[in-house]
């Protein structure tokens, strides 16, 4: 066993003793249905451990060096430390928005602001949600994201306590978007945060949710996020994930979606922060005529590493999925795209499209792109493709020949290249923030 493996084992051992402390802190909660799930998940974590590079799914992403850090788990009492002015610059400038702030995985009620309050919807923390919606939470929690295959999901499930819960009842359209602001407070300590989110949208309901991640401070921090989204019949859910973390931040995130008949789900994942980022986005179509859109943009510099794994799982006939992931990679950065379309035997009349495009701006930039198509039905329309290249020299010359300097021409073209992903963001103020950040990053 080499050094790294020993140290990871140490972290695992540490987590095992911490789980016992965690259980002690649960007080009356220890005998609940939820806690039986946690315990089961923890047993799974002990079995699975952290993924190693030998696994095909983790071939290009090695988190072991990052896990060597002596992280603190912050599952005990949370003492608010951040002030409104600390988070001001991260806010979406829209007065009608619901704001949920989580600091190192803890719900900060003082910084949050719930706009939509009525008996048709619940937006808030997990623990508060348990009071009125225990049955809904118990029905869906850990049922959408399986914890018996991925060690990170198992670990997150075991420690899930103070996460986010959103519940939209039948036929209710939430007009005000939800902004979930996740802050890693890395000013003095290195935290290993478990972020949990459960979204349940019943038949005919709709909601837009923006989740973004920021780091305050320069210490190392590790975020392990699991999001479960249940899209009921004929519901509409838009989900945006913006990763703005600091250069000493590590992020592993799984978004698992379950789609019922006639539902529509759209996700946009934008990654441009963090040292190492791994995103898993999976949607399972469990009803006919469901529709699903995955948009992604990753813009990497320095030694950044972003790994996007996606799965559109067509289990039923007449479903549609469309995926567009675009990368701009500079410096010594590395991108990984692994997109899978699974068309199962019953999924006749499937329409499934996938495309991954990459622009490499330097000789040392790397992309591993692996589009995968597995089809077991015989009457389907599917396509997938990947391109990797540089900026188009004809387009560059065209702009330059009109007096536009090389730098500006490059910015214009890269901005244009990214725009079809950016345009998928339907919250205007958020899109403007993303555009501004993109312009800044491209300069």
């Amino acid at each position: 066993m080499n050094n790294t493996e020993t140290e990871i084992t140490d972290l695992k051992t540490k987590l095992i003793s911490e789980f016992q402390d965690f259980e002690k802190n649960l007080n009356g909660e220890a005998e609940t249905t939820l806690h039986f799930i946690r315990k089961d998940a923890f047993e799974n974590f002990k079995e699975l451990g952290f993924p190693i590079k030998k696994l095909e799914d983790w071939k290009y992403t090695n988190l072991n060096p990052a896990l060597k850090q002596n992280f603190i788990q912050s599952f005990t009492e949370y003492t608010p430390a951040l002030k409104k002015e600390d988070i001001e610059k991260y806010l979406i400038k829209n007065s009608g928005i619901n704001l949920l702030v989580f600091v190192n995985g803890h719900f900060d009620i003082g910084l949050s602001h719930i706009e939509t309050k009525n008996d048709k919807v619940y937006i808030g923390s997990f623990s508060e949600g348990m009071k009125d919606h225990k049955d809904v939470i118990e029905k869906h929690f850990a049922k959408i994201a399986a914890y018996d295959k991925n060690g990170f999901v198992a670990l997150n499930t075991a420690f899930a306590k103070d996460g986010c819960f959103i519940y939209v009842k039948k036929n209710y359209e939430v007009k005000e978007a939800v902004h979930i602001l996740n802050i890693s407070d890395a000013q003095s300590e290195s935290y290993f945060s478990q972020l949990r989110k459960l979204v349940v949208v019943e038949e005919g309901g709709s909601i837009n949710i923006a989740t973004d991640y920021h780091t305050i401070g320069d210490q190392k921090c590790f975020t392990n996020a699991v999001t479960e989204i249940f899209c009921g019949m004929n519901s509409k859910v838009e989900h945006y994930k913006i990763q703005n973390e600091g250069e000493n931040s590590y992020h592993v995130g799984t978004t698992q979606v379950h789609q019922e008949k006639d539902s529509r789900f759209s996700d946009t994942t934008i990654s441009w922060g963090g040292a190492i980022t791994r995103n898993d986005l999976n949607s399972v179509f469990d009803g006919t005529n469901t529709e699903c859109h995955f948009y992604g943009l990753y813009l990497l510099t320095g030694r950044q590493h972003v790994d996007n794994h996606t799965l559109a799982d067509h289990k039923m006939p007449h479903c549609y999925s469309n995926e567009l992931y675009k990368g701009i990679i500079d410096g010594n950065a590395t991108g990984v795209f692994n997109g899978k379309i699974m068309v199962r035997e019953d999924a006749q009349k499937t329409n499934a499209y996938q495309s991954n495009n990459n622009i490499l701006l330097s000789d040392d930039a790397t992309i591993y792109s692996k589009p995968q198509l597995e089809i077991f039905a015989d009457d389907v329309k599917c396509s997938h493709g990947a391109t990797t290249g540089q900026l188009n020299p004809d387009e560059m010359f065209y702009l330059q020949s009109r007096g536009i300097g090389k730098e500006n021409a490059r910015t214009l073209l890269l901005y244009a290249y990214a725009s079809d992903v950016i345009d998928s963001i339907k919250i205007d103020e958020l899109r403007e923030m993303v555009v501004k950040k993109l312009e800044m990053k491209l300069k």
Binding site: F397, S401, R402, G403, I404, G405, K406, Y415, A416, A418
Partner: protein, 257 residues
């Protein structure tokens, strides 16, 4: 305005380069329209590329002076800023970049290079309206992405629109007429005629005499094998239309003319 002396240029190839321009001379003064004609492969488009600084060409000999300054030393954008414009034979489509954003960036970079303030939005919109009308471009096209989904004729008209917006000193029209129906051709030509002043100049590269029915050149040059082999007035174009290029390109026939 433009002086080309003994220009020799190679196009870069895998085998090291092929000489296309083999000692070309040309003088263009303000207020003049020059037509350059010639059979395929004579080097007309290479000349346009070399003058505007496209990558992939090596100038091996000769010089090009624009208003007395060495043109070949400077970048494509600096050539544009000094007043050179190329209407492309094959304008590229740029998805995601709107015509307005593109032109505003171009105009303001040109102004900046001259130490001028950026153009105000009001002024810019006024200019767009005025020039779109002048070249007969549907104003709706202007808010769209650069050339995306434009027909061949619309693309060429958009080139002339850009020319009108940027108001260059020397415009090079590279086969702007090819692939156009007669209405589109007439519209493009009318645009050019309206934009012509005593202070600017045009080099019209064309394969066909047809365009020159609408844009009347002061000089017609015939290019062959990388050189201008014959120059004359507008009547030369008509003669080429009647007799083809053979009498110029075939030395035996030339003797009998």
């Amino acid at each position: 305005m433009l002086t080309i002396k003994n220009l020799k240029a190679k196009v870069e190839t895998d085998e090291g380069g092929k000489e296309i321009l083999k000692g070309l001379n040309l003088n263009v003064n303000a207020g003049e329209i020059h037509a350059i004609m010639g059979p395929n492969g004579s080097g007309k488009s290479t000349l346009a590329s070399v003058l505007t600084g496209r990558d992939g060409y090596d100038v091996t000999e000769g010089e090009v002076l624009f208003e007395g300054k060495d043109l070949l030393e400077i970048s494509p954008e600096d050539r544009a800023r000094q007043g050179i414009f190329l209407a492309f034979q094959y304008p590229v489509e740029i998805p995601g970049v709107s015509n307005t954003n593109f032109l505003k960036t171009a105009i303001n970079e040109i102004r900046k290079s001259k130490g001028e303030e950026p153009m105000s939005s009001v002024e810019f919109l006024k200019l767009i309206k005025e020039k779109a009308k002048l070249v007969g471009l549907d104003p709706q096209m202007i808010s769209r992405y650069v050339n995306v989904g434009f027909s061949g004729g619309e693309k060429k008209r958009n080139e002339i629109f850009q020319l009108a917006m940027l108001d260059p000193k020397l415009s090079i029209l590279d086969e702007t007429d090819s692939g156009l129906d007669i209405d589109a051709l007439r519209a493009v030509a009318e645009g050019v005629n309206k934009l012509k002043t005593k202070d600017n100049a045009f080099i019209v590269i064309t394969h066909y005499q047809r365009l020159l029915d609408y844009i009347i050149p002061d000089f017609v040059h015939v290019m062959y094998q990388g050189r201008i082999v014959k120059s004359g007035g507008k009547e030369l174009a008509l003669q080429l239309e009647d007799q083809g290029y053979d009498w110029i390109t075939d030395p035996k026939e030339e003797a009998s003319v």
